[in-house]
């Protein structure tokens, strides 16, 4: 074996031994010791470099290149090992840092709109998209606006449909429906065309119970213009029902009677609790009554300042509390105004 061969063999041995020793390293401290021993100043491979000066002139480049390769290999192996050990150490550490993810989060109390406001907003938005504007009228109202101008003069039998709270002031009452606002908006806007909705609180004289309230929210819809027809009433309210109850919602209009509309109708929507099969909520009919509507009565148009020979219109009124109650299967209508925090937090 020549000197050259012996020297190269020695380098191969240094590399093989170094890699073998690295293989056995499992801790980061051992790795540092390995580095000092294998790549440090007094390591065998460095020994090769320092003995180079004593070598044959011919041999030097060959040996230098070979020694560099060995050192690079060992260094690369060291880096790989270091990364592996670090990752192992991190994984070990992560293992000790395990959280009980089932513990509850730190509560952030979120604010909420009252459920009736939430429903009301959906209704207002839906009609808003169809060009309707919101109009507000007083809650304490005159008998004239609440009844007389709506084609219910004193002692009209239809007044029986509303149990009324009267105030101690002659001719002043708590409005029984939002319809009184119809006349107010017409008188303000005549002869402009009208497309408004009138949301608000209304009051009726009833015994308070789980099923009946004395104060409740209503929304009135009013359209006045030239050649406004029953067909448009139907189309508008059907569109509204689809927006509120879903594209699939089936509706029907059936004749009814209100003194301030003629013809009058009630709109039923297929029961959203049972899907129309019949249940307790829809009283086994498969239908839920959601609103009353009709073509504005000529007397009402006239009282509002519109010539009924030229103008026509339609109106609709719906209670919000009851339909919200049905929708969420709420057991007691009084929850809405008792404001029990345990109830409100569920919305």
């Amino acid at each position: 074996m020549s000197d050259k061969e012996a020297a190269l063999a020695n380098l191969q041995k240094i590399q093989a031994e170094g890699l073998a020793a690295l293989e056995a390293v499992t801790e980061q401290e051992e790795l540092e010791a390995w580095r000092v021993a294998t790549l440090g100043r007094s390591s065998p491979v460095m020994g090769v470099f320092s003995s180079m000066g004593a070598m044959d002139q011919d041999l030097r480049p060959v040996m230098g290149k070979a020694a560099n390769e060995v050192r690079t290999t060992l260094e690369a192996a060291f880096e790989a090992k270091r990364a592996a050990l670090e990752e192992a150490a991190l994984l070990k550490e992560l293992e000790t840092e395990k959280l009980d993810v089932t513990l509850p989060g730190r509560p952030v109390e979120r604010g909420r709109l009252h459920p009736l406001t939430q429903v009301l907003r959906r209704i207002i938005r839906t009609f808003g998209d169809m060009g309707f504007q919101v109009y507000r009228s007083p809650e304490v109202e005159t008998d004239d606006y609440n009844f007389t101008y709506l084609n219910m003069p004193p002692y009209h039998p239809a007044r029986d449909m509303w149990d009324t709270f009267y105030t101690k002031d002659e001719g002043v009452l708590l409005r029984t429906h939002t319809s009184g606002g119809q006349i107010r908006v017409m008188r303000e806007r005549a002869p402009e065309p009208i497309r408004v909705i009138l949301p608000g609180t209304t009051m009726r004289y009833e015994q308070l119970s789980a099923r009946s309230e004395i104060e409740f929210a209503q929304v009135e819809v009013l359209v006045v213009g030239e050649k406004v027809t029953f067909a448009e009433l139907k189309g508008t309210l059907e569109d509204f029902a689809k927006r509120l109850f879903g594209e699939e919602a089936r509706t029907r209009l059936r004749p009814s009677h209100f003194p301030f509309t003629e013809p009058s109708a009630e709109m039923d929507v297929e029961c959203f609790v049972c899907g129309g099969k019949g249940c307790g909520v829809c009283k086994e009919t498969g239908w839920l009554e959601i609103l009353g509507c009709g073509m504005v009565h000529p007397v009402v148009l006239e009282n509002g300042g519109y010539d009924p020979a030229r103008y026509s219109g339609f109106a609709a009124g719906m209670g919000i509390d009851r339909s919200t109650l049905m929708r969420y299967r709420i057991d007691d209508i009084r929850h809405f105004r008792n404001n029990d925090i345990r109830f409100l937090r569920q919305f």
């Binding site: 509560p107 009252h114 504007q133 039998p157 359209v223 073509m295 009565h297 000529p298 105004r337 404001n339």
Partner: protein
């Protein structure tokens, strides 16, 4: 109103229409069916029913018309009898305890067998001995040694009425062996008749609607009379004092009538319609009222003669004298006034016209000759009387809604006929009829165009005429115009334009709402207007929700005493006017609220034990009466309430702190900032409900817009509110809306780096942070972009009666980086001003 199917069938042929389909027809023509009570008939086929059904079916093999040929005593029991019964197939001995069979016991074979409703073994029926309606099945058993397996039924057992005193005795012509359901099965439709559809508050009225909707023929009841008695003329006088109140009054007479039960089918119909059978005479008046909607009144003629001193009585209709008294047949005594219409005779008051009869002249067990009244009354007058005297009756229900005078005649004739059929006797020759004030039955013209422009569908003149004719309008067609004369059974059709609307309703509902097309609005949009006020309310709601608050919607009705709780006990609250409710539901809700704060405190109280943290707001009106103004001011207000923990407690160790004044202030600041309201200042304020040292007025441009603070401990003691202090704020919305900005300037994001520095000064305790900040801002000038208080310190180091306030200051110039020298100069100016104006010293 409850309408039996078999009764409807008297006037319109419904054999081809199932119960469910019929109910749909009724609903879609405006007669809303709320429930269908099945009497013996099976539930309609199909798995989807659109109506609620109740009741009991009578299968044909289990429930039979049978006859009892002999009633025998029971060998071992006095209170039981054995009936020899024939069900058309075989003879059976049936055991029963029905008291109405005792009379026949031991009489041998009966000449006229008793017709009964017989239930065979295995029949399911209601248990007559249990309260309510509990199903039971007939089984074979031995009662006192006699085998029993079937039953003769009572009304209750069959689900007809509550009656269980005896078994049903059917009319003698009931065919033995016929399935009971075929003989008397029925379905009762419970129809919600609206107050202004009184024309439909009768079986004939409903039959008319059904006939019109289905194109079937309507059969009027036969009102032909055999008047075999002596003439009525001369035997009773009649005077109408006020034709305005009493447009028509008619009399007829039936002599020699027997006060006996009506036939069973009549009693059953009345029961099913919800009316208690009494006797043939009373039943006939009730029957005809239900049949055609005309209430009638029967007098005992002999009592009237007696009251007239043995002479022919004279009926006088007039208004009462003030203070006149009448005891009605329900036993109540009424004091009358001069607006109330009466039927009287020369001796005094007989009845409250159209409402209720008096006790004295009523038909009774001894009555033999009946004088029958068929009349028409002014409905507004009847309504006034009813509402003043607070009495109701079936007659008043109808007369107070307007009954056409033409019905008086039909009603009188039908009632005489039925009384005679059911109670015997002879009808006196001739009717007395005073008709001083017949209504004008309007003639209305309606064109095809008008219909199209209002309904959105072109209906031909012939079809319009056909529809109206089915409702008994007399129609003529001229080109595109139909002229319709109102039939003589309704008063709800008007003249002219209103009449056209009335006809539109009739045309559209008979034509069918489902056949009218649906279209979107295509009219021009009205001018778009926005309510700044309502838009801002919505913004405010969103802001407060984002700040973590729960919205409330509260009752408007309250009581002055409830609102007074928001003041300390010895506080002399100023006298205020409320909107007072004349007919409150409870004394606790007898006025409209004036204070939104009082509402908030009540809701905090209600919830105080339900949550460790409460953060709420309400936007709503309060009602302030204003002198000389008919309606009160409805002022929109905002209330905020905070109490309890700053955040909800959790499993983590640190217990959240309880909220303080500055939590509330943070909410208020956040809200005002969200509305882009500038120039907000806070000043120590005063409010009777609030802690004197912890109250702030909120000012915008120096004008007070609200108040906030800690609830006064004495006020808090008025409520059950827990230990933590309560913080509330109250704002009137109008000024906030006025100050809020929709448009505002956005500041440029600075390009050059800011210079930050801290400044700590020592001032006297009574100098406020706001005062110091104001001076700093003034001294710092335009380059001082931000001033933030970050520490307050009191203690020996700064001296007695003094405090240290530390601020962090941010200087920025828009066009360059500020030099140290520039900043230092500004700082010197700030320190100088603080020293000069507030006696502040720089803290070392």
């Amino acid at each position: 109103m409850k309408v039996p199917l078999t009764w409807l069938k008297d006037y319109v042929d419904l054999d081809d229409l199932g119960i469910e389909d019929l109910a749909k027809v009724m609903t879609m023509v405006g007669l809303e069916v709320e429930e269908i009570h099945l009497v013996g008939l099976p539930l309609p086929e199909g798995d989807r029913h659109e109506f609620k059904y109740t009741g009991l079916p009578w299968p044909a093999d289990k429930f039979i018309v049978a006859q009892v040929d002999e009633v025998l005593p029971h060998p071992n029991a006095d209170r039981l009898v054995l009936c020899r019964l024939n069900d058309g197939k075989e003879e059976i001995t049936v055991l029963t305890g029905a008291p109405n069979l005792y009379d026949y016991k031991g009489k041998g074979p009966l000449d006229e067998p008793l017709k009964v409703a017989y239930a065979r073994e295995g029949a399911e029926l209601y248990d007559g001995h249990q309260p309510g309606y509990q199903l039971t099945m007939l089984k074979r058993m031995k009662i006192r040694g006699v085998e029993s397996f079937s039953m003769i039924c009572s009304e209750k057992e069959l689900g007809l009425t509550e009656a269980h005193e005896g078994v049903i005795l059917l009319d003698a012509d009931a065919p033995t062996g016929m399935p009971l359901a075929d003989y008397m099965g029925d379905a009762v439709f419970d129809v919600d008749t609206l107050p202004n559809m009184v024309r439909d508050a009768s079986v004939l009225g409903m039959a008319r609607e059904i006939a019109a909707a289905t194109g079937k023929e309507l059969h009027y009841p036969d009102d032909s009379l055999e008047m075999a008695g002596p003439a009525l003329e001369g035997r009773v006088g009649l005077e109408i004092m006020d034709p305005e109140l009493n447009p028509r009054f008619m009399l007829g007479m039936l002599e020699g009538v027997a006060i006996q039960p009506s036939p069973y089918w009549v009693r059953r119909r009345l029961s099913l319609a919800g009316m208690r059978p009494i006797n043939a005479v009373v039943d006939a008046t009730n029957y005809v009222m239900l049949e055609i909607g005309e209430p009638l009144h029967a007098f005992d003629y002999d009592i009237l003669v007696e009251r007239a001193g043995g002479k022919a009585p004279t009926i006088i209709t007039r208004t009462a004298e003030d203070g006149e008294k009448l005891t009605t047949l329900d036993g109540a005594e009424h004091t009358l006034d001069s607006n109330m219409e009466l039927v009287t005779d020369t001796a005094g008051v007989l009845s409250l016209a159209g409402v209720m009869g008096g006790e004295e002249s009523e038909v009774n067990d001894q009555t033999c000759n009946v004088l029958l009244e068929g009349a028409s009354w002014n409905f507004i007058n009847i309504r006034k009387t009813v509402s003043k005297l607070k009495i109701t009756s079936e007659a008043a229900y109808r007369f107070s809604r307007g009954i056409h005078p033409a019905l008086a005649e039909l009603g009188l004739r039908l009632c005489l006929k039925r009384m005679q059929e059911w109670g015997g006797g002879t009808i006196a020759q001739g009717l007395i009829d005073h008709y001083p004030n017949p209504p004008e039955d309007p003639l209305v013209e309606i064109s095809v165009d008008w219909v199209d422009n209002n309904l959105g569908v072109a209906i031909s003149p012939d079809e319009i005429a056909k529809i109206l004719t089915r409702l008994e309008f007399e129609c003529s067609v001229d080109g595109d115009t139909v002229t319709a004369k109102t039939p003589q059974h309704r008063l709800d059709i008007h003249d002219g334009l209103i009449g056209r609307a009335d006809l539109l309703e009739e045309i559209s509902r008979i034509y069918g709402y489902d056949k009218i097309p649906s279209r979107r609005l295509n009219q021009p949009l009205p001018p778009q207007r926005m309510s700044q006020e309502m838009a801002m309310e919505d913004t405010l709601r969103d802001l407060l929700v984002n700040l973590g608050l729960q919205e409330l919607i509260a009752y408007r009705m309250t009581a002055p005493g409830r609102e007074a709780r928001r003041f300390p006990p010895d506080y002399a609250a100023p006298e205020v006017d409320y909107v007072e409710i004349q007919n409150p539901i409870t004394v606790d809700r007898r006025v409209m609220r004036r204070s939104i704060l009082a509402t908030m405190l009540e809701i905090l109280e209600y919830n105080s034990t339900l949550s460790e943290r409460l953060a709420m707001f309400e936007i709503g009106p309060v009602f302030h009466p204003v002198a000389g103004q008919q309606l009160p001011d409805e002022k929109m207000m905002l209330s905020i309430g905070l109490t309890g923990l700053r955040s909800m407690p959790t499993w983590q160790k640190d217990k959240p702190e309880i909220v303080d004044f500055y939590d509330l202030k943070g909410v208020v600041e956040g809200m005002l900032a969200g509305l882009h309201i500038d120039n907000v200042t806070y000043a120590a304020g005063e409010d009777p409900s609030l802690h004197p040292g912890k109250t702030a007025d909120v000012l915008v441009d120096g004008e007070k817009v609200g108040v906030m603070g800690e609830l006064h401990p004495l006020v808090k003691a008025n409520y059950e509110l827990g230990d933590a202090p309560v913080y509330v704020a109250e704002f009137a919305l109008a000024p906030l809306v006025g100050k809020a900005k929709i448009l505002f300037d956005v500041e440029a994001i600075p390009t050059y780096p800011p210079v930050l520095e801290d400044l700590a000064v020592v001032v006297a305790d009574d100098v406020t942070a706001a005062q110091v900040e104001e001076v700093i801002r003034r001294g710092g000038g335009e380059y001082l972009a931000k001033v933030q208080l970050f520490d307050i310190f009191k203690g020996k180091q700064v001296g007695e009666g003094r405090k240290s306030l530390a601020f962090s200051l941010t200087y920025i110039a828009p066009d360059r980086t500020l030099t140290d020298k520039e900043v230092s100069k500004l700082r010197q100016k700030v320190i100088f001003l603080l020293g000069k104006e507030l006696g502040a010293e720089l803290r070392s």
